[in-house]
């Protein structure tokens, strides 16, 4: 609260100490038997007032003095107001309420602005109806006085607060079904812990903490713990490991905070308060994070850039900035293509409001965005909203509802790829101290119980016949993304390999994105939003490429697939299955989706002139063996024909059809039969 208002408050409250019948003044008349105590309390009051009226106010420092004075005289209306005001500016805002309620009770003629403070405390405590009543008793001030200073409280502001309370009433009346769990002492500390970001499969979490042990050991002058550092923990299967400080070079003796994590956990976005607030990027090399690097001037300006999230393919960055150019409000969400030179694009008025937007997070399905906003139908401060990009536009942002959102600021919300869990920080009762990280488990719509009934339908029988009344099936919303993860190793040595992983849209033949497996562990993770026939190619110099195919129709539900990839070196006799070669059913005509794989094969042969290959066709055991034999032969020949037509000498290639004679799995089910229907090549010369 700006100084003018606080001085105003001090002046206004002074006479009411005397006037109020129930308010007990700090006077010798009232405390004639404890003059020493009165003197000490007055001293505390004075010290508190010094901090309270400073510019900027030092509420945290004023509060202990006021509390000491209050212990001596709990029934002074003005003191209770000041304590309430201090709490309203602390991390435990709801603690203000009993003091402000007491002040109102002690002083029936309380100043109108006291009603505003009480309204704020009631609002922040989700006491909507009472808050609205108090807001209505608080007339606008400052707009026409105080020379337009920042302490202005306009009629519009009051109306907005009242509207927020009404939003809160509506949202609280239909709470969302979630479990909100404190993430526990492994992640949380007695100081503020916030800004959680998780990898798509929830195996890694990175947080910001103000706990003791920060690099440099600097403390916040406002008493809000230490300078921020970034910590990391991993999921052990049942619980999080203890969060460990990432150390240098990610953490420095200044503030270092998390912003975002790539779905595969190999790149991290961090916040730096340099240059008015910038976003930097750090890469994971093996098990160590590299030094965060600037993201460039298109993203980082002199304005304040605070939050960002990668698109699942890593091509785009969604970020928050309060830059003036192209802005629709105080701070907005923008989108930028990282590898281009085009300027960032404001996401538009469906998402961005005249107020602040913060904490953007793009889900690994590539279309669901979570963000916080002070606009839309917030119930107070920032609320978290969800919008889905479909048919070329963003859907109307949907408030995630009570109890995820509260009347205070709710920001920096992220979810797992499955959409089952969300993480955010909140300062709520029962935590380990200040802000804590909480895990939200979405329970979905209420699960309808089923009843059973029977009737005695035949008068002559009176024999009950079972009749079950079934409730309609609930729609189960599952994320439409497949998480593919595993480890890339050398097939011979079993050692991890750092390899490039190309994600290809087989329909267009375009490479959508390229990822790298971790150099130390060989681990990789790729998010595959549904609706595309994906070719996955794992490649590394000195090895033959490895291909996988994931044809995910639109609407395919969330799945996690673990696929370890053994890369084979180019040696005689080595066989590679070409999973992205497709034929028309029962025919030997190559489908267009095969082009990317065929081009890869052509490139391999071109780059390795001595290489000779046998192309082999295989079928399952459905149908006549002779026909299968013929089909496999013709398919192998079709691949050879493509390659020779594209400049590969025929002498380097042979075609062999093995029909159903060499299955790689028993032909006992659909999945195995699919494995057996394959095209592969064998190295016959190098």
């Amino acid at each position: 609260m700006p100084i003018l208002f606080r001085l105003f408050l001090l002046l206004l409250l002074a006479p009411t100490f005397q006037a109020a019948a129930q308010s007990v003044a700090f006077s010798k008349d009232q405390f004639s038997e404890n003059k020493e105590g009165l003197r000490e309390a007055m001293r505390e009051m004075k010290e508190g007032d010094t901090e309270y009226s400073a510019d900027p106010a030092r509420y945290a420092q004023a509060l202990p003095h006021y509390l000491a004075a209050q212990e001596f005289n709990p029934n002074n209306a003005g003191l209770n107001v000041k304590i309430g005001d201090c709490y309203l500016h602390s991390t435990t805002k709801t603690a203000a309420l009993p003091y402000l309620q007491k002040a109102a009770k002690l002083d029936a003629t309380a100043d109108a602005r006291t009603h505003f403070l009480l309204a704020r405390a009631l609002h922040l405590s989700a006491k909507w109806r009472e808050a609205i009543a108090e807001y209505q008793l608080a007339p606008p001030v400052g707009g026409n006085t105080r020379n337009g200073s920042a302490d202005a409280l306009t009629a519009n502001d009051l109306q907005r607060y009242i509207q927020q309370c009404r939003n809160g009433q509506l949202l609280m009346a239909r709470p969302v079904r979630v479990f909100v769990d404190n993430a526990g002492p492994e992640l949380n500390s007695a100081d503020s812990d916030y800004g959680p970001v998780v990898s798509a499969d929830e195996s890694t979490i990175v947080i910001t903490s103000r706990r003791a042990g920060s690099i440099g050991g600097k403390k916040d002058p406002e008493g809000n713990g230490y300078f921020e550092d970034i910590y990391q923990a991993t999921w052990t299967g049942k619980a999080w490991s203890r969060a460990a400080n990432l150390g240098a070079p990610v953490n420095t003796d200044e503030h270092n905070a998390t912003v975002g994590l790539a779905p595969d956990g190999q790149r991290m976005l961090v916040y730096s308060n340099a240059n008015g607030g910038d976003i930097l990027e750090a890469n994971l090399g093996g098990s160590a994070w590299g030094k965060p690097k600037q993201l460039g001037s298109r993203i980082n300006t002199r304005s304040h850039e605070t939050s960002a999230s990668y698109s699942p393919d890593g091509r785009y960055l969604y970020f928050v900035s309060d830059r003036e150019e192209g802005s629709l409000g105080r701070s907005d969400i923008y989108k930028v293509e990282l590898e281009s030179r085009t300027p960032p694009v404001n996401l538009g008025s469906t998402i961005n409001t005249a107020y602040g937007e913060e904490g953007v997070f793009m889900q690994p399905d590539g279309k669901t965005m979570f963000f916080s906003s002070e606009g839309h139908n917030t119930m107070g401060g920032y609320d978290i909203f969800k919008s889905v990009f479909e048919n070329g536009k963003w859907s109307k942002p949907e408030n995630l509802g009570w109890p995820i959102n509260t009347p205070d600021d709710d920001v920096f919300f992220v979810t797992s790829a499955s959409g089952r869990h969300g993480y955010y920080s909140s300062d709520r009762p029962g935590g380990l101290g200040a802000k804590d990280i909480y895990r939200i488990t979405f329970l979905g719509p209420e699960k309808q119980p089923l009843l059973s009934e029977e009737d005695q339908l035949l008068a002559s029988r009176l024999a009950p016949m079972k009749q079950t009344v079934l409730a309609p099936a609930v729609e189960v919303a599952t994320a439409q993304v497949t998480i593919l993860k595993g480890t890339v190793t050398d097939d011979a040595t079993k050692q991890p390999v750092e390899a490039a992983i190309d994600l290809i849209d087989n329909t267009s033949g375009q490479t959508i994105a390229t990822f790298r497996s971790n150099s130390t562990s060989g681990r990789y993770l790729v998010s595959l939003p549904s609706g595309t026939n994906y070719g996955i190619v794992v490649r590394q110099e000195g090895y033959l490429f490895h291909s996988e195919n994931f044809d995910l129709p639109a609407g395919a539900a969330y799945a996690e697939v673990v696929k370890d990839i053994p890369l084979k070196r180019l040696e005689m006799g080595v066989t590679i299955v070409l999973k992205n070669i497709f034929f028309d059913t029962g025919k030997a005509s190559l489908r267009p989706e095969s082009t990317a794989e065929l081009e890869r094969l052509q490139k391999l042969l071109t780059e390795t002139p001595a290489l000779k290959l046998e192309m082999a066709g295989h079928t399952d055991d459905v149908g006549e063996a002779a026909k299968n034999q013929d089909l496999s032969q013709r398919r192998a020949q079709a691949v050879v024909a493509y390659l020779t037509q594209h400049g590969i000498a025929a002498a380097r290639l042979t075609a062999a059809g093995y029909g159903e004679t060499r299955p790689v799995a028993p032909n006992t089910n659909k999945a195995n039969r699919q494995l057996n229907r394959r095209t592969e090549f064998k190295v016959t010369g190098k």
């Binding site: 009843l451 008068a459 029988r461």
Partner: protein
């Protein structure tokens, strides 16, 4: 007297009537008339429910007169009462051989075949009876019941129509036509039929319960609740009635009232698995998850293949933070036929896959 027995007797009356119609007056006949006398004696014993004596008399009548069709028919009826179904069947066969096309013979044999659990053969005989005597309502009615039990509700409704046409005062036929209409989703017609049954026979209380079901299907919840109340006011010892009223209260979002009814059903019949399951459902609505899980467990104990109870217990256990147990319950519900169980398990991230 239990209603099935009462009806059996009611339905048996035409047979006895048949025997009475054919009673032979000895004074008008020449000769010793041993067969006729024995036959009449047997008939008197039958009417006095002395079935063993009746059997002896009909034996004598047949011994005296081997082609005495009526004696065979009445001995068959006697043997039916004595539950000697094979012999009863043989006697009806003989009676029909001696007097082909007699509707009462077909009707009686149909009942024997029903007793022998041969519904197809019984249906055939009722059809012959209906053909032989189209205005004989019980044959239509009984065939309607068989067809209802077979699940052929359209044919059953046609038969109950036939019964009502033959006897417009037959309350049971209205009642069961109401049930056939209910099964055919003609709820308004069903409600009308049950109402007519009640008009004709106000003590046919089952009609109140069944009318309530039809009313619920047409959204007439207040009327349904009134019918349940009327039934329970007259008959307070039927666990099924309390359980069904509980379900109606549940539908009316009166979960506390529903729990009271399900509890009363359990008090009346502690082995009534449906009431336990339904109480679990109502507890879930009131967010009383531990009692809900306990009730569902009891339902499962009573009925180990109870899919609905597994599903409900899964819901309760999820809210009790027993994630693994909830997953097991949803999977089990799916295994027992409620496919939604697998959806719930998948949405909650349960390990493993649908079976």
């Amino acid at each position: 007297m239990p209603k099935p027995l009462l009806l059996s007797l009611l339905l048996a009356l035409p047979l006895v009537g048949y025997a009475q119609v054919d009673t032979v007056r000895a004074s008008t006949l020449p000769g010793p008339q041993l067969a006729e006398k024995a036959y009449n004696s047997g008939l008197a014993s039958f009417n006095a429910q002395s079935y063993s004596a009746a059997l002896r008399s009909f034996d004598q009548a047949i011994a005296a007169k081997a082609d005495f069709a009526a004696a065979y028919a009445n001995r068959a009826a006697t043997r039916y009462e004595l539950k000697e179904y094979s012999q009863a069947l043989a006697d009806y066969d003989q009676a029909l051989k001696l007097e082909p096309g007699n509707y009462a013979g077909y009707f009686g044999r149909a009942r024997v075949r029903e007793a022998q659990n041969q519904p197809a053969e019984a249906d055939q005989d009722y059809s012959e009876a209906v053909k032989a005597k189209p205005d004989y309502a019980p044959a239509w009615y009984n065939r309607g019941v068989l067809r209802f039990e077979k699940g052929d509700y359209q044919a059953a409704r046609d038969d109950f129509d036939g019964a009502i046409k033959a006897d417009p005062k037959m309350a049971y036929a209205y009642h069961d036509r109401g049930s056939a209409n209910q099964k055919l989703s003609n709820y308004a017609a069903a409600t009308q039929d049950y109402s007519q049954a009640l008009t004709l026979q106000p003590d046919l209380l089952a009609a109140l319960l069944n009318r309530a079901t039809s009313e619920r299907r047409t959204g007439q919840l207040p009327q349904a609740l009134r019918d349940y109340d009327a039934y329970i006011a007259k008959k307070a010892d039927n666990a099924l009635a309390f359980s069904n009223r509980g379900s109606a209260r549940f539908e009316n979002k009166d979960y506390a009232g529903a729990i009271a009814d399900f509890s009363q059903a359990i008090k009346l019949d502690a082995a009534y698995a449906y009431a336990w399951n339904n109480r679990a459902a109502a507890q879930l609505k009131l967010e009383k998850y531990a009692p809900a899980a306990a009730d569902a467990s009891q339902a499962i104990k009573l009925k180990p293949d109870y899919a609905e109870a597994y599903l409900n217990r899964g819901h309760a256990r999820e809210m009790l933070r027993q994630a693994d147990e909830a997953c097991q319950d949803w999977r089990k519900a799916a295994e027992l036929g409620i496919a939604a169980g697998d959806n719930y398990a998948a949405a909650a991230g349960c390990a493993g896959e649908a079976q």
